[in-house]
Symmetry: C2
Subunit: 128 residues, 2 copies
DNA sequence: TGTATTATTGCAACTTATTCGCAATAAATA
DNA sequence: TATTTATTGCGAATAAGTTGCAATAATACA
């Protein structure tokens, strides 16, 4: 199952690389210059995730968001990090904040999906 | 908008009270003795959440799970806690593990949805 | 350089979770 | 007991994500 290079793949990867935020399929489709089918975008994204080039975040809206970040670039860096969902500008971003936890005896952790919700620094500026 | 007591409401609340795990609408419907409409269950659950009697967890499967736990009983206890989703027995439970985080300047946190994934203590016992 | 192999794509249909409008029902209250 | 309106059931709608299939195109190889 060798991967092939296609314009679609490249376009989506570019978009994610240049975005500071995690993007949903929806957002990706809108931001792309070229028209790419919904199902294709999902397939491309799922492949990126399989290949550990991108990670998937599920927000409390139940939707999937995709991001490339520092953490993705060094897969040795196993530590999970928090994500932040701003209710004001409706975006999700990776925080450089590690997730610390101590689970009870016998629990084996294999993954983490941690999203904080609130107002991001940009949107908090409203006051002055 | 005063709340009324109904058999439905009582049944769902009982179920959640006696369950150690967080339950999805689906699970609730199956476990109830009486037949309650899907939409009604959602409405009851959403009302419970509004009234802070129950809290809602969104797992990486994108589904909502509902739970009553110690934390729910003392709303003054603002601290968020982790949830654990066992991939083996496919359940979600509240952990007595607080979520600690330090967000960058300017960020205002109003909520948290933190789910750890893996194998719970019961399912880890397989070995011995 | 031409051809075969098979990963990738687009399309349409499907699944699943959740919500919504509306009319009927039933708590609470006077 | 009558009135008010929260709650329910039903069916339909919405939205996110997946899947089957045939067509297309990237890669490998003669």
């Amino acid at each position: 199952m060798n991967r092939r290079n296609t314009p679609t793949k490249e376009a989506v990867l570019n978009l994610l690389s240049n975005s500071k935020k995690a993007l949903s399929q929806d957002a990706i489709e809108k931001q792309l210059d070229i028209k790419i089918n919904r199902a294709t975008i999902y397939r491309v994204l799922n492949r990126f995730c399989e290949d550990d080039m991108v990670h998937r975040i599920v927000a409390e809206d139940g939707k999937q968001y995709f991001a490339i970040c520092k953490k993705c670039e060094k897969p040795e860096d196993v530590q999970y990090h928090f994500h932040f969902r701003c209710l004001s500008c409706d975006t999700i971003e990776c925080l450089q904040v590690p997730v610390n936890y101590a689970v009870p005896n016998g629990y084996r952790v294999q993954g983490a999906n941690c999203v904080l919700t609130g107002t991001c620094s940009d949107c908090s500026q409203v006051v002055g």
